[in-house]
Each structure stands twice: as structure tokens, then as C-alpha cells.
């Protein structure tokens, strides 16, 4: 006999999924690890409230993810190898499909279920569309057991519990302290490390350390984008401007290094020469530029970050 009906779809992760089901007299939250399932039951009679809060706006990251996926897929036109063409085309299409699916699922939200002894997050209700369906199904079921709460009882409950004075009083909500170590700190610190990498790669090409440059540049770029998002609410814009300038530098270095790598991988020059001339991978001017701006950006960036923190704590 089927006693449970699904209320939401599965919210999948790498290790399993969570899903909400409706039972005859309770709500069932299932956490599955593929090989085991754990159950949490919330009796309809015990549910005090359901709170649905809008999630953070992800429009910009979603568009960026879509553009990055298209850029990745379009690399299929840039390579000559047949395998490379198929690899970039298939993975690019997959990423584009995932990005479009994420956008199509609509805005995010958070859902909490309140009982007398707990405030429980409901991870399967993570999109507003899902939340509307969930509320449409669960509210009649709970009201069938409990009835409806008359509006005149609201104030009475709040006064007896102190909610009214806490929420309408003049005391501001507690300040949310920013993390001590953000992406911007790591980024400006990483510039010193990568400057050293460029220095070593140019002066000692036999170490083959230059092959890590593309990875380092990709890491810098990701950190820079993260730093921009984390710092978008910062009223002092010094580190923000420096990060934007740094992105321009990273892109310039990436184009130069990528072109050289492409020359190596696709050209027959390397096979004929046998050894790699130092300035094929890293031209002298490019290396000096990459090294210098990183040192300057690292010093200026860290100084700006600590100045901003000091100003913020003073104000």
C-alpha cells in the first residue's frame, strides 16, 4: 500500500539526494546516500510555521557561467585535433545545458519548518517555484489537522513570547561580520607566488615550471571573479578597482601564454628543434611585464584591503 506521495523533486548532490514526501499524518524528509536512507518525520499537528525566504540573486553568476560554457565549447573551433574538437564540443554543450537548466529552474529560496522544539531547514525546497507547489500541497494538509490560526491571536502569541518587542524595537539586528580571509586577500597574496613562478619559468626554462602557468592564471581569474562578487557591497572601492585592473592583466597574460602553448602543442617546431628556446614559451618583455605588475598589484592590493578594513572598523 502506497502511503507516501512525493511533495518535491529530488535535490541531488554528489553523495545522494534529499526529498520531501507527504504521509497520512506527517511530512517526511528523506536524506539518501544512495545506499542508505535516513528519515525525519514532522507530524502535521506539530508544525507551527513554514518560513520561505528569497535566496540570493544569482543572475550575474548564471550569465557568467553561461558565457564561460559557450567560450569553453567554442574552443572546439580553435583546435585542429579531431579528439579536441569533440571533447570541447561535447563538454561545452553539457555545461551550456546545465547553465540553461539552472536559469530555467527560476529564482532560489530557503525554506524552514518551525516546530515547538526545532527550526529545521528543508533543502529540497530550494526554488521559489518548488516552494509554491510545496505550500499549495502542505498547507491544506496541516490545516485539515490543526485548522486555521485567526489573525487576532498573532499579537497575543508574539507578546507572550517577546517577539513583538524584539522585532519592532529600536535595536538594530546584529551585524554580520565579514569573513577574516576573503578571496581578495588570497588573490593579492597569490600574485606574489605567481610572480615568482613567472620569474623561475623565464630564467630556468629547463625546470618545466612554465607548464603550470596556465593553471595559475586560471586560478587567478577565478579568484578575481570571486573577489569582485564578495566585494560588490564594499563602499570603499580601492581593492575593487585594483581587482578589475588585475583581471585585465591576467587576461593579457593568458592570451600571451595560451598562444605560446598553442604554438608548442600544434606546431611542428618543437619536434624539429628538440629543445625549447626560453623565449618561445615566455617572451622576455611579456615575462617582465607579468612579473612586475603582479608585484605592484600584490603590494597595492594588500595595502588597499587592510586600509579598507581599518576604515570600516573605525566607522
Amino acid at each position: 500500500m502506497r502511503i507516501y506521495e512525493p511533495l518535491t523533486g529530488k535535490r541531488r548532490s554528489l553523495t545522494g539526494f534529499t526529498q520531501l514526501w507527504q504521509g497520512p499524518d506527517h511530512l517526511l524528509l528523506v536524506n539518501s546516500s544512495r545506499f542508505t536512507e535516513t528519515y525525519q518525520r514532522f507530524s502535521f499537528a506539530d508544525i507551527q510555521a513554514i518560513v520561505i525566504t528569497d535566496g540570493p540573486d544569482r543572475t550575474v553568476p548564471q550569465i557568467l557561467a553561461l558565457l564561460a560554457s559557450i567560450a569553453w565549447g567554442s574552443a572546439a573551433f580553435a583546435v585542429d585535433l579531431q579528439f579536441g574538437k569533440w571533447f570541447f564540443a561535447i563538454t561545452g554543450l553539457l555545461f551550456v545545458a546545465l547553465a540553461i537548466r539552472d536559469i530555467a529552474r527560476g529564482p532560489r529560496c530557503r525554506c524552514f519548518l518551525h516546530t515547538a522544539v526545532s527550526r529545521w531547514p528543508l533543502p529540497p525546497v530550494s526554488r521559489q517555484r518548488t516552494a509554491r507547489k510545496f505550500v499549495g500541497a502542505i498547507v491544506p494538509a496541516v490545516e485539515a489537522v490543526q485548522g486555521t490560526l485567526p489573525a487576532e491571536q498573532f499579537a497575543q502569541i508574539a507578546v507572550s513570547d517577546g517577539t513583538a518587542s524584539a522585532s519592532t524595537g529600536s535595536a538594530p539586528p546584529p551585524a554580520i561580520s565579514s569573513p577574516r580571509l576573503g578571496a581578495v586577500h588570497i588573490l593579492f597574496g597569490l600574485f606574489f607566488l605567481d610572480a615568482a613562478l613567472f620569474w623561475v619559468a623565464f630564467h630556468w626554462p629547463q625546470t618545466d615550471i612554465g607548464v603550470y602557468l596556465l593553471t595559475a592564471l586560471l586560478g587567478e581569474l577565478l579568484l578575481a571573479v570571486m573577489a569582485l562578487f564578495q566585494g560588490r557591497a564594499n563602499p570603499l572601492r580601492f581593492s575593487y578597482v585594483l581587482t578589475v585592473l588585475a583581471i585585465a592583466g591576467i587576461v593579457a597574460d593568458s592570451i600571451r601564454t595560451g598562444r605560446m602553448m598553442g604554438t608548442i602543442f600544434l606546431g611542428a617546431a618543437l619536434r624539429q628543434m628538440g629543445t625549447l628556446p626560453p623565449d618561445l614559451l615566455l617572451p622576455k618583455n611579456g615575462s617582465i611585464f607579468a612579473f612586475s605588475w603582479r608585484i605592484i598589484a600584490g603590494i597595492a592590493g594588500l595595502a588597499a584591503v587592510f586600509y579598507e578594513r581599518k576604515r570600516t572598523s573605525e566607522s
Binding site: E37, A49, V51, T53, D54, V117, V142, Q153, A158
Partner: protein
């Protein structure tokens, strides 16, 4: 354990005022300004008071099996032990003692209290299919999958709707793999006489 009737914002945990409960449309949280919808139910107004056990006054009175100082209120429907108000547990309309409840949970007789289930059919399917990718692990994976299918065919499955299709597929895969292995070994021995045991 303290109870609370405070409804908090899902983003900043700031207490939400009664004006924002059950509105026509979502309202802004006074703490963080995030759009929030609160659906409040009558359980919020209910004050839960548990029934306290009565104390034994005379020595001749029946007392609780677990609390000798408390007056017995009812017998356990499973084992017949006397229980006070503190110990009687209402399960499916029956009053049972903590010991029987615990035994029932362990023996999976009380499905309402089941908090975890192992999905043997998924394990069997994984054992039958995943090792095939690496070929050699299938020598161990296939017999293990078959063991899981036979051993756990009647074990409790998920409490959610679920058929035995994974067991069927795992069993078929495992039998096919074992058959192939046997055929392979026989063929090796038949066509490579040096592999035959010398009698």
C-alpha cells in the same frame, strides 16, 4: 528542553513580527530586508503541557516498573508491565513501555519510528555493475552481488514506494558475469592444455 514560539527569518534569523505572518504576499524581513513569507498554524498558539506522574502514597498501591515512586497508570500492551504517565508511550493507539518500544525499533516492528534503512538492492546493483568497468573486480563483485540478492531478497526495503527491479537487474547481471567467467575458465583449460591440472 525549552519550547519557542518565535518565528525567525530564513536568511538572518531575526524574529519576524506578527504583522508579517500569513500575509497576502511576502513581506520584507525587518532584520535584513529579504522578502519572506510566513505561514503560521494554530500549533503556534498551543501550549504543550505533559501529564505529570502521580506519586505512590500507600505501600499497597501499584507502582511503575521503571519508577518505583510513581503510581502505575496503565499496563504495557506488549509485556504487561505497569507504567506511570511518564513511561507510557502511545504508538499506533497502543500504550507500550520504553523497553518494548526500543525492542520494536530494533526489530523494525514500528515503522513509524524507523529512522534509517539500508538499500540492499542498490548495493547489489552497484556490486553487479560498477566492477565490470574495471573488469577484474567483477570476479569478486558478481558473487557478492548474487549473495546480496539472495540474502536480502526479503529484508525490509525503503519505506518509500520502491519495487524489486534493482534486485532483478543485479541478479541477472551477476548470473551473466559468473556464467561468462565459468565459460572463460573452461575455454582456457580446454584450449590451453598446459593449464590443466596434472593428475
Amino acid at each position: 528542553m525549552t519550547t519557542s514560539r518565535t518565528i525567525r527569518c530564513g536568511a538572518c534569523a531575526w524574529p519576524l513580527p506578527p504583522e508579517s505572518w500569513n500575509p497576502e504576499s511576502a513581506t520584507a524581513c525587518p532584520g535584513c530586508g529579504t522578502r519572506t513569507q510566513v505561514i503560521a498554524f494554530p500549533a503556534l498558539a498551543r501550549v504543550n503541557v505533559g501529564s505529570a506522574p502521580e506519586t505512590v502514597i500507600e505501600a499497597a498501591e501499584a507502582s511503575c516498573f521503571y519508577h518505583a515512586q510513581n503510581r502505575a497508570a496503565s499496563p504495557c500492551d506488549e509485556c504487561g508491565r505497569f507504567l506511570c504517565r511518564l513511561c507510557e508511550l502511545d504508538v499506533d493507539g497502543r500504550r507500550i513501555c520504553p523497553g518494548c518500544f526500543s525492542a520494536g525499533v530494533r526489530g523494525r516492528k514500528i515503522q513509524e519510528a524507523d529512522t534509517k534503512r539500508t538499500l540492499y538492492d542498490s548495493i547489489a546493483l552497484a556490486l553487479a555493475t560498477l566492477p565490470v568497468v574495471l573488469f577484474w573486480p567483477a570476479l569478486v563483485g558478481a558473487p557478492m552481488a548474487l549473495y546480496f540478492v539472495i540474502r536480502h531478497w526479503n529484508s525490509p526495503r525503503s519505506i518509500l514506494p520502491r519495487t524489486r527491479i534493482r534486485f532483478y537487474i543485479a541478479g541477472l547481471f551477476a548470473v551473466a558475469e559468473i556464467s561468462l567467467m565459468v565459460v572463460g575458465i573452461v575455454a582456457l583449460i580446454r584450449y590451453f592444455p598446459s593449464l590443466r591440472p596434472q593428475l
